[in-house]
Subunit: 385 residues, 2 copies
DNA sequence: TGAAACAGTTTAAACGTTTAATGCCAAAGT
DNA sequence: ACTTTGGCATTAAACGTTTAAACTGTTTCA
């Protein structure tokens, strides 16, 4: 017998009355005596309001199977019975217990996402928006996002624990590293996942990514169009796909590469500023008139450095970034940059992951989208010596 | 009979051998024939490797109850049996199924956190770090964080769904609004929660918060010390506790309030910049020599505006912010600001929430911490006309 | 008229844990 | 020698679902 029904019986009232009392509903027809009787009966039975399928079944006077069939539309049920069940469920404000459902289905409808460690003094607003959009996409498919932390040492441990203990059905990976250990490990365990970003791993796995090479190329073409010819590139020290966009553009413009104008450093404000020092120290005639940066962070560092040595960004020298960092619009001058379609990427990575989880074949497991150039003050003036 | 055991029996091998084959372990003693037999047997039974407590029990030759007792240390078990169970669990790399455990315990060990909508072009790096630290604190107590999105209309709906469907045990609230509807609703439903920030609700609820009034006061005292006397304040249009720190400081310094020097606007770069326009338009003698801002965002907007009208921040006019935004260190000049102990606040909000969930009384449910002044270039010079 | 088909419903098993209740057996107490 | 005790281990119920299998009563058809 359902627990609520027992409470109701002992108090000698209907199941619905008991529910109304216990859920603090304002129902005029319930006298104080009845209310008290129900409360006493509930406290005697040590019952804490928790509507289950049994309560609905009792109220509708059918079996729990019938309730399940109606609510899941999984088996045809006669109209009158169906009606009764739906009424009962609505009256009791029933919600299925997800834990029980998950146990039965041996799934969790949870997606794990490792929160990137944000050290004090850093930020990653693009990822913020990515996570938000991912949660939105997941929810519209009946999933939720579990964010967990990923310790430095033994990165794969958290993943294994979550999947083995049935906390999640799969993962979304981001911030892929060179030879990322998580990828072979997850593949080895047969765990569904999809990534935001590529890696140099030999194995094949589903991912979404932005075409950074194309993005940088559009920056270059924009600068050519504004009259620049002496253009430097500031990128990462490790694997950098974006630099090829720089080379591509130089090549099609018939401009010879100058190795000294390809500067590599870490993706931080300070280091980027320092890294371009040698370029700026050159005599004016030999100095680049524009610098294409692989990230907004770097571009901001460069702009700050240029300001401190008295060069006017947008006039004396053009700068472009990459990411469309929320701040870039409000810099002085505002920063020309490359915007990634974050909402779309988040939706797609969830699509890929759900396909993996449900073992459906998608026509394409590698989604690479071209980003969009946003022209702003830091590069918009026509340049001519 | 446990499923794995059945696979092993049909293939005529030991349970452990079956496990090793199915988990792709490299064990020299397993011949290809044996491997194939196990794989066949598993595929006949349609078995997907999933070690349960039954497998451990079978391997250790005890009942599942004994396994549970050993692993949870809940009931004394003789040393030899204990040993056997631990060995079996380790050999099979067993992890309890959390879903099953949760169903039994009717808890989820999940904490819900509503992801603030990050509109394109905005960011909230302080909250980033807060969520990260919260996840860390939760995990060290055996909980996980579920991040969900909160639609504009009907904000409380998502909360009700998550709690009623047993997805989470409680919530952490942030971004509290004036007369926040979530608070009475959660209290009404008897749902455990704890907040980051206060609200003007009349009801009592557990929260952590930063003492903004104190923080602004320390900014003011710092400015007095650097020789400023004509200080303006830029804050929010709605409820603003921080402005009282401004008034407090003026009062103890014996300086009369000037209502025109208290400017109120929205917390965005653009609007903050525009809002101080009238102050700067004043003749130099009547103009404030310092502006205390209620957020770094505002301070950055103000700095950008001052730069565009040719005033040198840190020399002609001092600026202070609030939040220690990651960027504030890298502005030119760097921004004096107030740092909140985010890690500590996150830990405390989890402590409060877990106390609510487990119905333990904590000595203090209202935690207000004084923040820390970080002096940087925007206000460090001694000022004297 | 009896068997077969069918629609509508219920029964009961299963998912993987925890844990109260029970059982077993040897040692201790009468 | 017979009960009592106590240590250890097992049995079985419970958590709240889903769903295959079984059942019931009516209609259809030979």
């Amino acid at each position: 017998m359902s627990a609520l029904r027992e409470v109701a019986q002992r108090a000698n009232v209907s199941l619905l009355t008991a529910y109304n009392v216990l859920s603090n509903a304002h129902v005029a027809s319930i006298t104080n005596e009845i209310r008290q009787a129900v409360l006493d009966s509930a406290s005697n039975l040590n019952y804490h309001l928790n509507i289950t399928i049994k309560d609905v079944a009792a109220q509708a006077e059918v079996s729990i199977a019938t309730v399940s069939y109606v609510l899941n539309n999984s088996v045809p049920v006669s109209a009158p019975t169906r009606e009764r069940v739906l009424e009962a469920a609505a009256a009791l404000n029933y919600r299925p217990n997800i834990t029980a459902r998950n146990l039965q289905a041996s799934e969790t409808r949870m997606i794990g996402y490792a929160w990137h460690e944000v050290p004090p003094g850093q930020m990653n607003p693009v990822m913020d928006r990515f996570i938000y959009c991912m949660a939105l996409a997941a929810e519209s498919a009946g999933y939720h996002v579990l964010t967990f932390t990923q310790p430095r040492k033994n990165e794969t441990r958290a993943y294994e624990d979550l999947i083995r203990s049935n906390r999640v059905d799969g993962f979304v990976l981001s911030n892929l590293k060179v030879s990322d250990k998580r990828i072979p490990h997850l593949i080895d365990m047969g765990v569904p996942f999809a990534a935001f970003g590529r890696s140099n791993n030999q194995v094949d796995f589903p991912f979404v990514d932005v075409d950074g090479r194309y993005g940088i190329r559009t920056c270059m073409e924009h600068l050519f169009e504004r009259g620049h010819e002496k253009i430097a590139y500031l990128g990462w020290s490790l694997v950098d796909e974006r630099v090829h966009g720089y080379f591509d553009a130089l090549h099609s413009a018939g401009i010879k590469r100058n190795p000294e104008w390809v500067v590599r450093t870490h993706d931080t404000l300070m280091e980027a500023g320092n890294a371009v020092h040698p370029l700026i120290d050159l005599p004016e005639k030999e100095r680049p008139t524009a610098i294409v940066c692989a990230s907004d962070m770097m571009a901001i560092g460069v702009m700050r450095f240029l300001g401190s040595v008295g060069l006017r960004v947008g006039i004396d020298i053009a700068i472009t970034g990459f990411d469309d960092h929320p701040m870039s619009e409000f810099l002085y001058p505002s920063l020309t940059t490359i915007r990634q379609p974050i909402e779309w990427l988040a939706q797609k990575v969830i699509d890929l992951l759900l396909a993996e989880i449900n073992k459906v074949q998608l026509p394409e497991r590698h989604i690479i989208v071209p980003p969009e150039l946003i022209v702003r003050g830091s590069s918009s003036q026509y340049f001519a010596d």
